[in-house]
Symmetry: C2
Subunit: 331 residues, 2 copies
Amino acid sequence: MKIINAVLSGGVGSRLWPLSRKSRPKQYLPLFNGKSLFELTIERNRSFCDELYLIGGIDNYNLSRGILEKSGITQFKEIVEACPRNTAAAIAFAAFQAEPEDILLVTPSDHLINNNEMYQNAVDAAIALAKDGYIVTFGLQPKTPETGFGYIEYDGNEVISFREKPSREMAEVFVSSGNFLWNSGMFCFKAGLYLDELQIHEPELFDASKIVFNKKNGIYLNELLSMNIPSISVDYAVMERTEKIKVIPSFFEWSDMGSFLAIYENILDNDPRKSGSNLSLNTHKLVEFVGVENLILVETEDAILVVNKDNAQDVKKVYERLEKENPSYLK
Amino acid sequence: MKIINAVLSGGVGSRLWPLSRKSRPKQYLPLFNGKSLFELTIERNRSFCDELYLIGGIDNYNLSRGILEKSGITQFKEIVEACPRNTAAAIAFAAFQAEPEDILLVTPSDHLINNNEMYQNAVDAAIALAKDGYIVTFGLQPKTPETGFGYIEYDGNEVISFREKPSREMAEVFVSSGNFLWNSGMFCFKAGLYLDELQIHEPELFDASKIVFNKKNGIYLNELLSMNIPSISVDYAVMERTEKIKVIPSFFEWSDMGSFLAIYENILDNDPRKSGSNLSLNTHKLVEFVGVENLILVETEDAILVVNKDNAQDVKKVYERLEKENPSYLK
């Protein structure tokens, strides 16, 4: 039995445009003292795990390799997806790669986590429950009535219910009640158990994923076959349905770095990039803000974004518009 | 007797930083279909005038020359000031250069004026009054209760009083009364009459200016001697004191282009540089504004300014701060 860190590295992070691009997704941007979220993820989980699996897309895997090379990590296994098929399938590939008794610590590669004792305690507790035959999800102590996350109603390690992204009012009720956690996107379970549960609840997805995995060419999955896999999240496919679910209420500092607001909140007030309530990112120029507040300015070689931090989610709309009108700015 | 356009070209235009720099003052920026305010000023007044005088600083005169060369204008006289001594002295230099009976049409080089029949009528009327022996100032029909301008209380061509920059409340009273005009900074008079009036009201300034003019080295004024000239505006030195003052109430379209707000207001709504209520200037990059309104973004090689158009005056404070802290950004 081994403990394996299965790192999922898909997606672009469209809400971090123009920093994040198809050729340079969010998790590879060196925003944190020169390190990327991908690099920090790998570093954070090395001490808990015997092996490292990378599950990512054909556009990304060379970026992952480059960072591992820089970090001197040579022992890892790759699964290169031909096209994005969501998390249920991505985790299935990791599970097929492992032995059934191996424990997978599944982590996104684009979260910022303060790697302290609270994190280590949470992971230790999750591994212990996984060894006992449970599907474990990490639930995070909610800090604000965030409407962009799913919530988990809990009691100790028991999951009472999963709740999809709530309204503002409902989120406020959730947070003030003290009975709800944010759904983190981190999981821990035996590889075989995950596949058993997937087969029970999403047999079509299980079968299609198994065919794709078995017919892979080295590390590369086949594109045409991959198109047969239903694109479903692991939450919907397994977490919300399995009887074997447990949750680890977690208290570590965490951010999904989903938008420039999250980046703003994770940059210290005395950082030279901050000027009053305004922030400038990725520029070597002198930036002066006059008569404005709560703005984030981002400069790249071909684009400048000025966004109010309270509208940081709307950057996704710019990305989607450019995808239709001017895709060269997304490359 | 000749009619001479005396063009004053001093100052940087600090409220247009980072576009305007010591090496590239506001009046030389090619903001209007590739033309600068300086160039438009010269073009506008050519048809009225027999000669052209340029009075400007040592930092500017090569920029003026370059534009005249481009326009194919070879006949002009230059007076190069060693240091800024304000408008009363600058106009005195032009007057010393001319014959006493010559008429000076004194124009700043950094105003935007719609050169239509109303402008031509105003200039014709001013020249006629100047020929009759008056000191003529152009008063502009006020459009808004602007607090940054001086006002002229008038009745026909008679000046009742000059008023310094008023409070907001007072400006509103001025504008609604219909008896007030904006003080434009454009003047018309015989050279000899100006010098006579200057000698009466500011004899020290007159004497010091005369010494500097007489001791000039070719077109260049002496710096040490120039330091003896009191730095006083022509309004204070002559206009507000002379008995011979007349005003031409003027109705042409005019802007002093004093701030990015004025530039904003003189750029059409369908200009590609405008996006909703936001404006980007001098950038070749794709600029996206998200969740913000009334912003002006200016990019140069070494700086980016983001200013709310209602705070456009405060850009001057940035300039003044940089002058102390980081003058390389003003060069």
